[in-house]
Amino acid sequence: MSLAWLFDLEVVYVATGVVLAVFAGFTLADRANRARIGTAMFWLVLGVLFALGSHLPAWLNGVLVVILVAIDGLGLVRQGSYREAGQAERAAGADRHGLLLFVPVVLIPTLTYAGTRVFQGPGYTANDVLYVGLGLSSAVATVVALWITRARPVLLAHDGRRLADAIGAVLILPQLLAALGEMFKTAGVGRVIASSVAAVIPTDSLLAVVLVTCASVVLFTFIMGNSFAAFPVIMAGIGVPLLIEPFGVSPALVGLMTLTVASCGTLCTPMAANFNLLPPALLEMRDRHGVIKFQAPVAAAMFAVHVLLLWGLASFAA
């Protein structure tokens, strides 16, 4: 019996929309939040985009995105009160449940992974199985956590909303930046960058071409926030015509090094919001650029490593 029908991303989109709508409902009743109407609207509109986004006309989705940004722009996404547990209550919980508390946390990655192994083959799309599996694993972990802690289910709404509000409007940033990347691609931003770099590059020195290839893919990744978007543009514009073909460098070497050196750009850019801006919000850090600042020295060193590896291995093999 095939369960392929289950692994439809629409399932998790609707589930996420429902969760967000529940957050919105509880927010509306939260008198401790000075912007409870704005905050509730924000989660509700996002929930609508999730649950109905596949069916609404594209222009209406666009309008809803503008509304989300307007609510945040007016400073109307704020935190409220969530019946937080005090230190004593949490310590008593740890006394009572001990290591059992780790079970649901471990279940999420384990079940997700198991799902990708069990449900493969014809009819299954790997990505859909992964993300639907992640959603289902979260649901199973939720039930197990309720069973272990004997907590009232309504607390799920309060605690989920507490984390969502702590992240705030930063939650939509990764998606918004991905949309901006699409706009850049449609507008031909990559073409402009690759052609202007290719016009000025000194093409007779292997080291110079290696350096320019690495630097331009890092720069373009910094702008796009996504190495997978920058990679094909730089390969087509610089890597293949100026490095692989004239110098006879191993294509696999150029390809891999160009892709991973691009990550040095990802480590330094606020455009990669899911890696660099979401964590400070999720971890409630004071400095929202703290992760980028910490990563910058390692990114610089890894850039040098890539240039040396690519140059060294290319010269060695030539």
């Binding site: 949490r90 991905a178 706009m183 891999l256 999720l282 409630e284 703290g290 990563q295 890894m302």
Partner: protein, 257 residues
Amino acid sequence: MEWLRLIGVAVVVVGFALRLRVTVVVLAAGIATGLVAKGLDGGFGPGILPALGQAFVNGRIITLLVLSLPVLGLLERAGLQEECSRVIRRAGAATAGRLLVAYHVFRSLIGIAGIRLGSGHVIFTRPLVVPMALPAAGLAGSAGPGGSEGGASGAEVSPDDADRAVEIDRIKAAASASENYANFFGQNLFFGSPGVALVVKNLADNGHVVSALLVAKLAIPVAIAALLLAGLQYALLDRWLRRRQAARAASPAEIAP
């Protein structure tokens, strides 16, 4: 006029520099880019607003982490972070830096095994890594990721508390970074990873056939270099924490009555 296509980039740079609200800056950059492209080409696919709405909806996969927030929040209420610090206290030799080395290796192994999990920050860093790293650095009293609320809320902040807040922030940054380092530089060790597939497909499109295994093999020196450089950074973090704590012990700040 081709360079005008980069207007969105300029908007982002200026917006970030002026510290304007990021969502607004990004939206403005998207609209500006669409307007310029429309002006230069006489059209922009289906129109700017629909393109934006469609792209946002197509990216929903990125934000599925919402589904795991309720259970993680509930477990925090039930004492998950406290249990993390107890586990760390039992393992005597742990420091924040050593813990991050262990996490970096663990996360790389996950990559080698070809296991993809979405955001490690949500399922590992917030519930486990930070609540273990803080007590390992002797900052247990400040609770977990929501550290600020654990201490003396309402009361005035002593210089020591301000010192500790800086250390807590740095440890949280390091924990996030270890997830990124191991993810970015470790995932291509698996020949079936999306990154390796992208390289193989791109080269094939450009007329060069290469084996995925060879590409994955070339990722080995990259992963090793990342572990060494990150390991050095984690060790420096430990030294920085030790020095600050030693300085604090040597000159105890006045304790407010």
